[in-house]
């Protein structure tokens, strides 16, 4: 007899969910009106809590509204002491340096290679392994306007409106126009997207879409993309240095970016990479745990790329806007924060309060949906609270099999069934508890539609960038973003690098930034932070002092 993972009071709430299930099959609540949207965002979205934000005090984007946690790591000195770095000995001399080995980085490398750069003249530097990224964990799918009832113009409108009209139009245009091309290329690489017997790729809705255009590979969409791209990077012998995070960008005496300083995590040595083009593909910032939220992000998502770019003078935009995925696991405790893909709602699961009742349309855009969930729990007190104090709402996964037939959950959500199953929760039989979790960095480094930042020789692609999604990203547009802009960065860098002539290497921009920090009497710990610190306080007070980094 398997022990019920749910305590009695949660099991009672589940019983209520079961009682209402039959009647709810046909029940669809109305979507929010534009006024409802404004109201619930202003009152319940974490972005709108003014005390949690501040304005950047110095640097190229002085005045930019950012979360407190971001200000803490950007308004601070570097972990690198430029005085202790010998820039005369160059360890790698390449055409293109790619910082970050996820989906954007892999795309950048492969498309640079396809556009004339020899593999041996590319270097991918990554803090963990090649492929360790948010890409790997993306579950839902990739948007592309392919079907005849759909087209890129509709995709444009969905993305632009979903982003609250704050998106950069040229970026959205590139995103939606290149989408079918990238999906076709992925098919040619051999990625196994879910298809009908006719060859047509299955497509479903995501939050905020007007047409079904989310293509997926079971609930492993991101992993499928990442594994295949990584295999291609290996097959083409593109050089990689793993466990070697970049800690600062290099510039030359003409003010152009000239590569980066990496840190070898094993030997603790610094590595000088001179590069004619540098592409930042470092992903997101979930491990900063904005406002204490748990996160769906991988371990290395610590905002490093933005920090380094900012010190080199690259502007940031839309940093006020943080995406909380409406459905992160809220129980059991071991997996709190982990992603429960929007696709679960796409397949019919409804969100319910402790009484087993629906209270909102399940597929509003993410920011609206997250706010509605927070309102139901914190505003109306209708949520379930777990023994560890985590609030949550039910996501009625068993409804999916009721609608689509037995076996649907098992087939479509194999990874998730396993994730919950490891801790005794059966999402086929019982609803699962969810709550918003920190998911995606809407803002970031500014780029044009060719993935170029305003700084010469510096490119960026993927989650590290801001502007493509406005102040709210739609589901499936992130796997698309890494594809389209990773490729754009690779092509741009390949086109421009051969013309670049680099001068004398310098870290003066870092020295100047450190001086700015001193002038502003900054007291924050240095950055980039590279990894979050999950050790308990009792350990922190007893660390042996070391000074090899600064």
């Amino acid at each position: 007899m398997v022990k019920d993972p749910y305590p009695d009071y949660m099991r009672e709430s589940i019983n209520k969910v079961e009682k209402t299930r039959e009647k709810r099959v046909k029940e669809t609540l109305d979507q929010c009106s534009p006024d409802d949207i404004t109201d619930v965002l202003n009152k319940f979205h974490p972005d709108f809590i003014k005390e949690q934000k501040t304005n950047l005090r110095f640097g190229v984007s002085k005045g930019e509204v950012v979360p407190l946690e971001v200000a803490k790591i950007i308004e601070t000195r570097s972990i690198l002491d430029p005085k202790k770095v010998d820039l005369n000995k160059i360890d790698f001399d390449v055409d293109i340096l790619i910082i970050g080995g996820g989906g954007s980085g892999a795309n950048a490398a492969l498309w640079a290679m396809k556009n004339g750069i020899k593999p041996e003249n590319i270097l991918i530097a990554t803090k963990l392994r090649m492929g360790d990224s948010n890409t790997t964990m993306a579950q839902g799918g990739i948007q592309a306007a392919v079907r005849e009832v759909d087209n890129p113009a509709m995709h444009y409108l969905d993305a632009f409106g979903g982003g609250h009209y704050e998106n950069e139009p040229p970026l959205v245009r590139r995103l939606v126009k290149d989408a079918p091309f990238m999906l076709k290329w992925y098919e040619e690489l051999g990625m196994m997207f879910d298809k009908l017997d006719s060859g047509e790729m299955e497509a479903i809705h995501g939050g905020g879409t007007s047409r079904k255009r989310m293509h997926f590979a079971k609930d492993f969409s991101g992993a499928e993309i990442m594994k295949t791209l990584r295999d291609e990077v290996f097959n083409n012998k593109i050089p990689i240095v793993e466990f070697s995070p970049a800690v600062e960008l290099l510039k030359d005496d003409k003010g152009q970016v000239a590569g980066a300083v990496l840190l070898n995590l094993d030997s603790k040595e610094y590595i000088i990479v001179r590069a004619k083009a540098t592409i930042i593909t470092t992903g997101g910032f979930g491990r900063l745990h904005i406002q204490g939220f748990p996160t769906t992000n991988h371990y290395g998502a610590t905002f490093d790329g933005c920090v380094m770019g900012y010190r080199a003078g690259a502007p940031l935009k839309l940093m006020k806007s943080v995406q909380y995925h409406p459905t992160g696991a809220a129980f059991p405790e071991q997996i709190v924060g982990l992603l429960v893909t929007e696709k679960v709602r796409g397949k019919g699961a409804q969100v319910l309060n402790k009484n087993g009742e629906q209270f909102c349309f399940p597929l509003e855009t993410r920011d609206v949906e997250a706010s509605l969930l927070i309102r139901e729990c914190l505003g109306k007190g209708n949520g379930v609270v777990t023994p560890s104090g985590q609030p949550g709402l039910w996501l009625d996964s068993p409804l999916i099999d009721l609608i689509h037939g037995e076996g649907t959950v098992e087939k479509n959500f194999a990874a998730m069934v396993r994730q919950f199953g490891r801790f005794g929760v059966d999402m086929i039989k019982d609803p699962i508890l969810i709550y918003p979790t920190l998911h995606y960095q809407n803002g970031g480094l500014t780029i044009d539609e060719n993935a170029q930042t305003p700084i010469k020789n510096l490119y960026a692609a993927g989650e590290v960038c801001g502007g493509t999604h406005g102040s709210n990203r739609l589901m499936g547009n992130s796997l698309l973003e890494i594809s389209v802009f990773g490729r754009a960065a690779g092509i741009s860098a390949a086109k421009n690098a051969p013309k670049v002539i680099l001068g004398k290497l310098t870290l003066e921009h870092v020295t100047n930034y450190n001086t700015l920090c001193n002038e502003h009497k900054v007291k924050n710990p240095p950055s980039p932070i590279i990894f979050p610190d999950y050790t308990s306080d009792k350990h922190k007070g007893r660390l042996l002092p070391t000074d090899f980094l600064t």
Binding site: D8, M154, G190, D231, E333, P387, Y534
Partner: protein, 233 residues
């Protein structure tokens, strides 16, 4: 009456890491238990959610000979757990160009001839933290059944635990990805509408409409956005 979390005393268990005995809260995953001990992880850590295969771990339970495998991020500690991590597998990876491969029965054997050494011991299947029938897909690959090998291995996160345990020294997870790519590229039916749409975009079919929206003021585009009709599910 259900106890509040404050009233419930945290149960502790004994685990063993590098010959040292430690007490850790029983509800932690192996990964969080190491962090509880003060470790700041750099290897053997990745997505922390069971997708990336970075945290491959093997363990025994003290006093028992049996060897178990797990992902440190997804396995809860048990009393008596003796833990060792294997953050990397020295994989045999063959290089190939997907464009010039042929989806014929011998292709996988050609690149990974060691699959012929498979002794059907099923140790790989027992080692897999994703419940994949690893031996079945290796045998399918040996038979030349690319589709079977692809479908059975689909959930593979390439953690390497199978390859680490295999007495025939096969790198199962690399055989798997070759099978999947061959299937996806050459066996799965092509999405014809996709080619058609790529062509239409290239010819500029949607440029005018998108251009108009790019020029529109916020009021106009908001009107367009709010009058969209959502396709039925």
């Amino acid at each position: 009456m259900t106890k509040t979390s404050a009233e419930i005393k945290q149960e502790m268990v004994k685990i063993y890491v590098a010959n040292t005995e430690y007490e850790v809260p029983s509800n932690l995953t192996i990964m969080k238990a190491l962090e509880f001990l003060g470790w700041r992880l750099e290897r053997g850590v990745g997505c922390r959610g069971g997708f990336c295969g970075a945290c491959s771990t093997i363990y025994r339970l003290k006093g028992d000979h049996k060897l178990y495998t797990a992902l440190a991020c997804a396995a809860q500690v048990e009393d008596g757990m003796v833990i060792a991590q294997i953050p990397i597998n020295p994989a045999n990876k063959k290089l190939y160009n997907i464009d010039s491969l042929k989806a014929v029965p011998n292709t996988m054997l050609e690149f990974y001839p060691e699959i012929a050494r498979c002794i059907s011991c099923n140790t790989c299947t027992k080692a897999c933290p994703m419940d994949i029938e690893v031996m079945d897909y290796v045998q399918a690959a040996l038979r030349g059944d690319i589709a079977q090998a692809a479908h059975i291995s689909f959930d593979c996160i390439m953690c390497g635990l199978c390859a680490t345990r295999c007495p025939a020294e096969i790198t199962q997870f690399n055989v798997g990805i070759l099978a999947r790519r061959l299937y996806g590229r050459y066996i799965a039916p092509k999405y014809k509408q996709l080619s058609k749409r790529v062509d239409e975009v290239e010819k500029g079919k949607y440029d005018a409409e998108i251009s108009e929206m790019m020029k529109a003021d916020q009021k106009a585009i908001a009107k367009l956005y709010n009058s969209r009709v959502r396709e039925k599910d």
